[in-house]
């Protein structure tokens, strides 16, 4: 809180002093009954959520039109029954007191007997004054005489440009000068005045900067939500197109891919959240039980994606195998619809050290067995492809001959049944991944498992980031 020393005991916040230029009479004081440190919050962002102008109670007399969009939280109502300037009181007690020329309806000024309303210097970004003034929340200046800051004069003298900005205040300013002329004589410290003016200037500038920044943030936030909505709409439309393209039963198949994509996106968000929790737990050295709970949480969340994948495979196995739901880099290096188990263990590297002898043996065995299982499944897939080639390239399919139509259909039926095994391969691959993770958890201690999960997750999110970087790279 800036306090202002003047001839009289005045409690004023420095930064608000400038506001005189916007209102003829400006009083500020300690945070009486209001939320504490409100004035100190000047320049901080206002958390106003549209409390709007409390037209009944307060008027936002922020000095620039920029502040207009801000909610009326900038208002600080000051009342004092102890004004030492009776003249002021009289002249300013009327309803047509101040209009800052910002479009505020001055007729909504409250004029209370002996009370004067003034506007808090709208904190940059509308923070400052804090939430809209509630009814009757007037500052009580107590017994200290509240004086319109003498610096008001300085203000008017130094802020000549303000006069131009706020034409509406001209008249009021003149009134000010007359009534405050008497103040001039009372306070004569020019240096202090200049300093104050400079402070005010600086404060005002920073508030304006902050206001501009906040506005930028607000607009980009709005844009973001708009984009999200558009995306959602587009996705829904896409889903509708797909659905309408198929008849009855197939519509589910068409939507299976889309449904999985949406589920996967949601799963990924949840996964990130769990991983972040785990990370903060690892960094803050929580107890073992809590750590184990977190690890279990991540592991069972992995189970969830395998479950989703098997549902997705039932409706659209090619979509799952194509990896279109992954980012390009992930897709390139994936194996049978997901990550490679043997790769996972290599990712861990030395992050899970130190390992006991037994653990080391276990890890080596896991590496070897996962590699062997992977190879077996890969060879199975190759055999599948080979047999499909044989079936589809069979001679009986070639020439268009009525006698061969039956053969054709027969071969196609065989090919169809071979394709049906794709789902089984995908299923086995996912089981392999799931079991590798589970075995890893069995071998490692809780803390090691936590670090392992973090390492795996980090690797995959970096791979995703790599995809984005690659896509955004400047093309020669």
């Amino acid at each position: 809180m800036h306090s202002f020393k003047a001839a009289q005991a005045i409690a004023l916040t420095n930064s608000d002093v400038y506001c005189h230029s916007q209102s003829p009479f400006y009083l500020r004081g300690e945070e009486g009954g209001r939320n504490g440190a409100r004035f100190a919050d000047l320049g901080e962002l206002e958390q106003s959520t549209g409390s709007g102008f409390h037209h009944d109670d307060a008027v936002n007399l922020s000095r620039s039109s920029m502040y207009n969009d801000l909610k009326a939280s900038n208002v600080s109502v000051v009342s004092s029954n102890n004004l030492q300037f009776g003249g002021l009181n009289n002249s300013l007690g009327s309803a047509e007191m101040v209009s800052s020329g910002t479009g505020v309806d001055s007729s909504q000024f409250m004029s209370h007997k002996g009370t004067i309303m003034a506007v808090g210097g709208g904190g940059g970004g509308g923070g400052g004054g804090g939430g809209g003034m509630g009814n009757g929340q007037f500052e009580n200046w107590g017994d200290s005489g509240v004086v319109a800051d003498h610096s008001q004069q300085t203000d008017t003298s130094t802020d000549t440009d303000d006069k131009n900005q706020y034409p509406g205040i001209h008249n009021e300013r003149l009134i000010d000068m007359d009534s405050l002329d008497q103040l001039k004589g009372k306070i004569g410290d020019q240096k202090a005045l200049r300093r104050l003016a400079q402070n005010r200037e600086a404060a005002r500038k920073s508030r304006m900067r902050k206001k501009a920044y906040v506005q930028q943030l607000e607009t980009s936030r709005l844009k973001l939500t708009q984009l999200e909505q558009e995306l959602k709409r587009a996705r829904q439309q896409q889903g509708m197109f797909v659905a309408s393209g198929y008849s009855g039963d197939h519509s589910l198949g068409g939507n299976g891919a889309l449904a999985f994509d949406i589920d996967y996106a949601r799963w990924l968000d949840e996964h990130q959240r769990l991983i972040n929790d785990l990370r903060s737990a690892v960094n803050s050295h929580v107890g073992d039980t809590e750590m184990r709970l977190l690890v279990e949480g991540v592991m069972s969340h992995y189970d969830e994606i395998f479950r989703l994948k098997s549902i997705g495979a039932k409706s659209d196995v090619f979509h799952m195998l194509s990896g279109m739901w992954k980012t390009p880099a992930e897709r390139c290096f994936m194996w049978l619809g997901g990550f490679r188990c043997s790769e996972v263990l290599k990712i861990l590297g030395n992050q899970i050290e130190p390992l006991t002898e037994q653990q080391l043996v276990g890890i080596c065995n896991l590496q070897q067995s996962s590699q062997q299982a992977e190879d077996a499944l890969s060879q199975g897939m190759e055999a599948l492809q080979q047999s499909l080639v044989e079936t589809l390239s069979s001679n009986s399919l070639a020439p268009r001959n009525s006698g061969n139509v039956a053969d054709y259909m027969g071969q196609m039926a065989i090919a169809m049944s071979k394709l049906a095994t794709l789902e089984n391969f995908l299923h086995q691959a996912d089981l392999l991944r799931q079991q590798t993770l589970q075995q890893l958890q069995r071998i490692l201690t809780t803390r090691q498992a936590a670090r392992a999960l973090l390492a795996i997750s980090d690797y995959r999110s970096r791979l995703r980031a790599l995809s984005s970087l690659w896509l955004a790279r400047p093309k020669e």
Partner: protein, 126 residues
């Protein structure tokens, strides 16, 4: 890998009687005949994967191709029942004991129980 025709085994041990033998009994008998026994279908790719798995480990399994067997269908049905429905092949027996289908085999391998089982049955030497 040794491919055996089931009928040959059947004839060689035909003392128990002809076609009345329970397919499940036959399965058990065949399974006990070797350290590692795989029931397969020649065109099945998953069976191929299982075979590759064992060969990759250095094991020499005995394979019965049920589609090349006159009574293969019965055995397939029996195996399917044994596994509780679903596909009958591939099925793996080690040391005369049922291990299961592909998923069980792989789970056991990842879990580290397959290799000791193989060693116990004498199919694998370190």
């Amino acid at each position: 890998m040794q491919y055996q025709s089931e009928s040959r085994n059947y004839y060689s041990s035909s003392t128990t009687g002809q076609g009345g033998a329970d397919p499940l009994e036959r399965v058990v008998r065949l399974a006990s005949g070797s350290a590692v026994v795989i029931f397969s279908v020649s065109t099945c790719c998953m069976c191929h994967a299982v075979k590759r798995l064992f060969c990759g480990m250095g094991v020499n399994p005995t394979v019965y191709e049920l589609d090349q067997d006159p009574r293969g269908q019965e055995i397939e049905r029996a195996l399917s029942q044994l596994l509780g429905g679903g596909s009958a092949v591939p099925v793996v027996f080690i040391g005369g004991k049922l291990v299961g289908a592909m998923d069980r085999v792989m789970a056991s391998h990842i879990g580290g129980t397959l290799v000791p089982l193989l060693k116990e049955a004498g199919a694998l030497w370190l």
